[in-house]
């Protein structure tokens, strides 16, 4: 399934956060969105998810998503791992995972789905009976990604999944993203770690002032000058 964003605009009152933004993410691809704070990265994800006022077009297959409610977008095969993880601290890890099933389109065996995410994140399986608020930040991040995956989405959106995590946990997250790409999902990754994202993604759009200023490929990951120039363009 391909996510097609076409001429997307997001305005918060007088603030024009995203301007005429267009890009595609095909199944089995990771596409990165990087840029300074306020560049419009998170607003783009929120607009796709129906959480921000948007105009333009966001499509998966024939389905137009702009103007739909967040729960309907989720049920059409798009899952968001939000910034700050937003897990339900007072529920158990397993209850958090069961919430992810709300957006599932098939009525297949939930145990199989859980087994699939436990394989990717063994720590989630290990602590499944524990209260989610008692997990460390890295464990919560893995839970947040696992929760999104049990919905069996076609498109996975991630908003700064490495924020505030130790380097070893960041490695776990990026390895998981590579494995998720192998499963054929379209992955749209918003990140502050520019070099890491450019290296991991099939292509990476640099946003500034709500617009794409530059598109980079994995070959540009070590070109520090290009990255710095892109950020300050």
């Amino acid at each position: 399934m391909t996510l097609v964003v076409d001429k997307l605009d997001v305005r918060y009152g007088g603030v024009h956060a995203v301007r005429d933004l267009s890009f595609e993410v095909r199944g089995g691809e990771i596409v990165g969105l990087i840029g300074a704070n306020g560049a419009g990265k998170s607003s783009t994800l929120h607009a796709i998810m129906g959480l921000a006022p948007a105009s333009g077009s966001v499509r998966t297959g024939d389905a137009e998503l702009v103007g739909r409610r967040p729960e309907d977008v989720a049920r059409s095969g798009i899952a968001l791992v939000p910034e700050g993880r937003r897990i339900f601290a007072e529920l158990t890890v397993e209850e958090n995972l069961r919430l992810g099933l709300a957006a599932r389109r098939s009525r297949g065996d939930a145990k199989k789905l859980f087994a699939g995410v436990y394989e990717l994140f063994p720590i989630v399986n290990e602590f499944r009976a524990r209260q989610a608020g008692a997990l460390s930040g890295g464990q919560q991040q893995q839970l947040a990604i696992a929760r999104a995956l049990v919905a069996e989405p076609d498109v996975l959106l991630l908003d700064e999944p490495s924020l505030g995590l130790a380097p070893t946990v960041v490695d776990v997250v990026f390895e998981a993203l590579a494995a998720i790409r192998e499963r054929g999902l379209a992955v749209l990754l918003v990140e502050q770690r520019a070099q890491r994202t450019v290296a991991a993604a099939d292509r990476c759009h640099v946003l500034a002032n709500g617009e794409v200023r530059l598109t980079l490929g994995p070959q540009d990951a070590d070109d520090t000058d290009k990255l710095v120039a892109a950020y300050f363009s």
């Binding site: 998810m49 729960e71 989720a74 939000p82 007072e90 919430l99 992810g100 709300a102 957006a103 919905a151």
Partner: protein
């Protein structure tokens, strides 16, 4: 203090029954607050509508079961209408707007009752037999006392099972913690709110039956005083926690019942004063509520 010494087993039993009924009201108010962050001030008027349904059924000579069925039907239909016509269109508005809207609904329902049934109200005589006493270990206990405690315990147990053992219960708990994230995960807002309003209405109908037995004269301000006391109890218990809110409702109902029975007749008008002074003192000491022991600190 002399009044306190006059407490007997019968007074304690009456306090227990009123506490049970108020606990159900607290749950009904807490369920809607959980998903909508809205204190429904019109809750008492739902109870009043159910009580009038019982009184009318009694006047028409309907059997008790038919009167109770009518009471449930009226309260549930009114609850769903309130959600569809008021809560849903105003859902995007500020909490203050929603709050004022519930005041408007409360006054509207009360005025309709005043126009239709008059200020003197009606009597629900068909349920009065439940006020007769039975003797248990030498103590006279009204049948409604036993019925209220048993019904409240069963309702709370069923609600607990629904919230902890079912998918919709999990969705409701998640929505009461973080509605925006729950929706983002695919939880249907309208379904969760609809179920919360429905359950809240069912509990209002149960409360209507219980309160009508205890005071069969149904007037347009029926249950208004009870709602105000329960709201205070919910705040005393802890508005953000369903169990705390329920305990708060029970505690204030029990205190109200016991004090009401213990105070001499010529001092009974001071009952609300005693209750609300206690509420103020509790909130000064524990502003988050008497039964809210939750900690906000989480691991990072």
């Amino acid at each position: 203090m002399i009044a306190v010494l006059n407490i007997d087993w019968q007074t304690l039993a009456d306090g227990l029954a009123l506490g049970a009924v108020y606990a159900l009201m607290a749950v009904g108010i807490g369920l809607v607050f959980g998903v909508l962050r809205l204190v429904n001030f019109a809750y008492g008027q739902l109870v009043m509508a159910g009580a009038f349904a019982l009184a009318l059924a009694s006047q028409w000579g309907w059997p008790l079961w038919a009167g109770i069925a009518l009471c449930f039907a009226v309260v549930i239909v009114l609850s769903m209408l309130m959600d569809r016509l008021v809560f849903r269109p105003l859902r995007g508005q500020s909490p203050a707007v929603m709050l004022v809207a519930t005041f408007a609904v409360a006054f509207l329902l009360q005025s309709v009752a005043l126009v239709w049934f008059g200020a003197l109200g009606k009597i629900a005589s068909s349920v009065a037999y439940l006020n007769r006493p039975v003797t248990i270990s030498g103590v006279d206990v009204r049948k409604i006392t036993i019925v209220a405690v048993v019904v409240a315990a069963v309702c709370l147990l069923l609600l607990h099972l629904l919230l902890t053992r079912t998918e919709i219960g999990l969705h409701m708990r998640a929505s009461s913690m973080d509605f925006s994230t729950a929706r983002m995960l695919g939880v249907r807002a309208n379904r969760v709110i609809g179920v919360a309003v429905l359950l809240s209405g069912l509990l209002a109908a149960v409360v209507a039956v219980m309160l009508t037995v205890q005071s069969p004269l149904v007037t347009p301000d029926f249950a208004l005083r009870d709602t105000i006391i329960v709201l205070a109890g919910v705040v005393v218990g802890g508005l953000n926690r369903p169990i705390a809110a329920t305990l708060g409702g029970f505690l204030i109902g029990f205190s109200s019942g016991v004090l009401g029975g213990a105070l001499p007749t010529n001092q009974s008008q001071y009952l609300p004063t005693f209750l609300f002074v206690a509420v103020i003192l509790v909130l000064l000491v524990r502003p988050r509520g008497l039964f809210d022991w939750s900690r906000t600190v989480e691991r990072v």
